[in-house]
Subunit: 173 residues, 2 copies
Amino acid sequence: MSKAATELAKTRDEFIAQWGVMGTQWGINRTMAQIHALLMTAVEPLSTDEVMAALDISRGNAHTNLKELVNWGLLRIVTKKGERREFFEAEKDVWEMFRRIMGERKRRELDPALNVLTRCKEETAGLKSAEAKAFHQQMTELEDFLSFAAKMGDRASSMPQNKVMQLAMKLLG
Amino acid sequence: MSKAATELAKTRDEFIAQWGVMGTQWGINRTMAQIHALLMTAVEPLSTDEVMAALDISRGNAHTNLKELVNWGLLRIVTKKGERREFFEAEKDVWEMFRRIMGERKRRELDPALNVLTRCKEETAGLKSAEAKAFHQQMTELEDFLSFAAKMGDRASSMPQNKVMQLAMKLLG
DNA sequence: CGGTATTTTCAGGAAATTCTGAAATAGATG
DNA sequence: CATCTATTTCAGAATTTCCTGAAAATACCG
């Protein structure tokens, strides 16, 4: 391998390793983040065995996390003709990646939180004590805020990128 | 305790428990989320011992997580005159809470990610192969996107709430 | 000071999460 | 349908994260 190619490989490995660390801080597991980093910077789709080899992980681990990334919409499965194996390819467009992550996090985190808040709000709607009123009010404010955030997220991710950029520029202006 | 007061206590406990579960999914630990929920819905500041009793947790656990929440800016320490103990009080304004969380997450998660991306970008800036160029380009796009997001976050959280609402309404329009 | 109340730290244990490796299943091919 | 290849599942091991309880440190008070 040439000097330059080694250099690139080293930096890429660093990126993969660090992205894994970031992942754990973001609340997703290290391997999943590393596979994502690996495929984001891959020139072409990789097979499960190639991922196993590149990251030195077991088949079960590679399989589970590849499928999880497919569920998140961050990878897609591609097939090569004459090949029976599945290959995995990352969504590389950053804006599209962001949309997918937003949507998935909303579904997994925001929506359940909203359910809890709505329920707690309703269960205390009729109570008359000052404590109960304060609690009910707090639930209402949290719910309003989160449902507002959810709507904004939906709206932003269903808009063409350039529209969002225009609006954002106004905000930054 | 009256029927209504029991009802309120039950709902509040449910809120605290569920908020704890949400916390784990959001990547923060269960106890920290529960303490936050407890204090968000407390009528007045609580001492460490009261938090321990309310959640049935050890002193070490209560202490560590209370201090961590203070670091996040989600709780403040208050003292009562004639009392030597510290009491903890939650920031209850939802918008302010959001600002604090945004700021802290940016500092802990976004900024380190940006450093990694910048380094990987710089280390491959001079390389000529098609692979290296693609890698460099991917790093650049990720960096641009995240630094843009960071700026937006900063901007939004340093604006008065009503300004943000106005802009948001336009976006939702 | 000496005594007491409170906060802080941290070693070791408990719990939760993640990973491995191998067995089971599914799918293709001749 | 026998065989080969690839995918999926999952019990138990490894690792990481979290919590307890007690000891150490700190702050206050007479």
